[in-house]
């Protein structure tokens, strides 16, 4: 993307950003479709069912049909909801999901924009999702929704702490918040997962909680709260939340790959400056599949257990880990 083009009438940098945004939107929607299909297919196979089979070859067009169905559905706004907030909530949830795509380095030359504070930017933008869930829960005027929203806020706030503490360990080593810098620090197979596997596990557990995935899917918790904060949403309102969830999963896994699994690094490929994005996506999808695998295996934890797990296990371990990293670096 950084190839020089003489555009004349448009500044090159603007064109680049527009192109990057289009790519980001394509990735967001593509990821939602792929993940929606994979989740249903794998859920089926884990449970000895074939999963979607009817639409297209092995149900490959199922998501397209579902998309059409969701778009065609009436947007039901129940009485006594806060109408403005109710309509805003899915948008607030979905819109920030696109932004982090701009700073994620897919390959050495496939990156929308490299910020010095790319990591902080992603964390800041992703945190808006909590607000959206809270708005959704509040505006629905439904107690189940509200309970789901409250759980979500408590959960996300609690799990940001171990997540940031493990991030700090990495930052101590790399000395930069730039995502490209972090990936380049791991070049040559020196992935951080080999040096700090505990940090990787803590970070992965925290991302599961941050993205509201099982076994930490308390804001949705369909056996307790019917569908949590999404209970009252229908049609595109629901599907925006749905896509946002998959996008946040993608972002979380991208971050994990960048921080611990060496980003785009892998065996060399022709035109590696662009094609090594393959390695990036392969690693991201391996993590996403693990997330699906975990979801279809474990029961849900209880709310106090969730917080206990964070405060009693993740936070102390990440603090100790940070200390050890600092000491090792100083020596």
């Amino acid at each position: 993307m950084s190839t020089v083009m003489n555009t004349g009438f448009l500044p090159l940098e603007l064109l680049r950003i527009i192109f990057a945004l289009i790519c980001a939107i394509v990735i967001v929607f593509g990821n939602a479709v792929v993940m929606g299909y994979l989740e249903r297919k794998l859920a089926g196979r884990f449970q000895r069912r074939p999963g979607p089979m009817e639409v297209g070859w092995h149900g490959i067009l199922q998501l397209a049909v579902d998309g059409v169905k969701l778009v065609g559905k009436q947007l039901i706004i129940p009485k006594q909801t806060d109408r403005v907030l109710y309509r805003l909530a899915p948008i607030i949830s979905f819109a920030p999901a696109i932004m982090p795509m701009v700073v994620i380095p897919f390959a050495p030359k496939l990156q929308g924009r490299d910020f010095d504070i790319g990591l902080i930017f992603i964390l800041a933008v992703v945190a808006i999702n909590v607000l959206a869930i809270l708005i959704a829960g509040w505006s629905s005027n439904n107690k189940y929704s509200l309970l789901g929203a409250m759980r979500s806020v408590a959960q996300n706030v609690a799990y940001e702490i171990p997540m940031l503490l493990t991030l700090l360990s990495v930052i101590l080593v790399t000395g930069t918040f730039s995502l490209r810098g972090i990936v380049e620090a791991q070049s040559g197979g020196a992935w951080f997962i080999f040096f700090m596997p505990v940090a990787f596990l803590i970070f992965f557990a925290a991302t599961l909680a941050e993205t509201n995935r099982a076994p930490f899917d308390l804001p949705e918790a369909e056996s307790e709260l019917t569908a949590g904060f999404m209970t009252e949403f229908s049609g595109m309102g629901f599907s925006l939340f749905f896509m946002a969830e998959y996008t946040y999963m993608f972002i979380a896994c991208s971050l994990t790959v960048i921080l611990f699994l060496g980003g785009w690094s892998g065996p060399p490929l022709p035109y590696g400056e662009y094609t090594s994005a393959l390695w990036f996506f392969a690693k991201v999808y391996a993590l996403l599949l693990t997330m699906i695998w975990i979801r279809w295996t474990f029961p849900r934890v209880r709310f106090d257990q969730l917080l206990n797990f964070c405060w009693k296990y993740l936070v102390p371990f990440s603090l100790v880990h940070l200390l050890v990293t600092a000491v090792v670096l100083k020596l």
Partner: protein, 370 residues
Amino acid sequence: MTTMAEKGEHRYILNMGPQHPSTHGVLRVILEMEGEYVMDPQPVLGYGHRMHEKMAESRPWPNFLPNAARMDYLSALIYNHGYVGVVERLAGIEATPRAEYIRVITSELNRLQSHLLWLGVLVLDLGAFTPIMYTFEDREKILDILEDVTGSRLTYCYMRVGGVVRDIDDKFVERTREYISWQRSRMPMYDKLVTGNIIFRKRIEKIGEFNPDMARRYGLTGPVLRGTGIPYDIRRAEPYSVYPEFDFEIPTETTGDCMAAYLVRVREIEQSLRILEQALDKLPAGPAMAKVPKKLKLPAGDACYAVESPRGELVYHLTGDGSDTPYRMKIRVPSFSNLSLLPELCRGMLLSDLCACMGSLDLVIPEIDR
């Protein structure tokens, strides 16, 4: 909401059901909540009331046979067994030995499928989707076997006064034996996937604890009661049919929490398999239907017949008045008593634990509402 605010309490009402994923039917529980804590759960019954007892009193006794299966759709054969048992006891009819064995075999198969469904559903209530599919795979095998002999898959109408409708054949015996070994081979998998899972254990251990005294006050029966250490099982306490001829244990646990009820049920699966094996070995030859007068009138008097349903003690009380229509019929269902424990058991509990508790009580709502 306003009344709560007037009282100066930060409480609110959460209406759980009649359509809610973890009430398993049309049960409604009005929860008075404080935050996520359930302060006062009040079950509301009757959404599925079909006046089964009155129906029994208004028509000739054979007409109640299909009704028996509709009360508890998960243990229809055991309900069949109880009803034909009480009519036989009142009329002084004896079923043939072979029929009694067939009744025990089909009842135990029915109990197994009920326990398998419960196992999956409990874990589903706790948020794991996959185990229910595995238990359904096992359950389908039982349903296939039972379909072959009874003709239906869920609401059986198989037993008749004096025997059973259709005799079992060698194919049935062979398939049941195959199933027994299959189920035995599956149990270690459930042990690892469900029982051993740390999240599952943490979710149900020390949740909903109650003591034998509380169980007595509410008239609890079944695995929930045996979880408190009382080995009360109708098959032993008040033996019926040919159960005294079999060697089986009554599994008990001492803690009285959800985990105890869980472990009791899982161990009961193995005991049911043992009963099945012995019954198949001892199966006597002979007719599957005794000679019963074509127009059987119920003699004046009372009879009571108790059977052990997967959920506890099921009692039919029948009063005859010399005609062919029962004068009075009373059915004591286990789920009703087990549910009545809920308000006291779940006071001050988290909402998630309430779901776990209701799952471990193994409620079947049409049975409660009748």
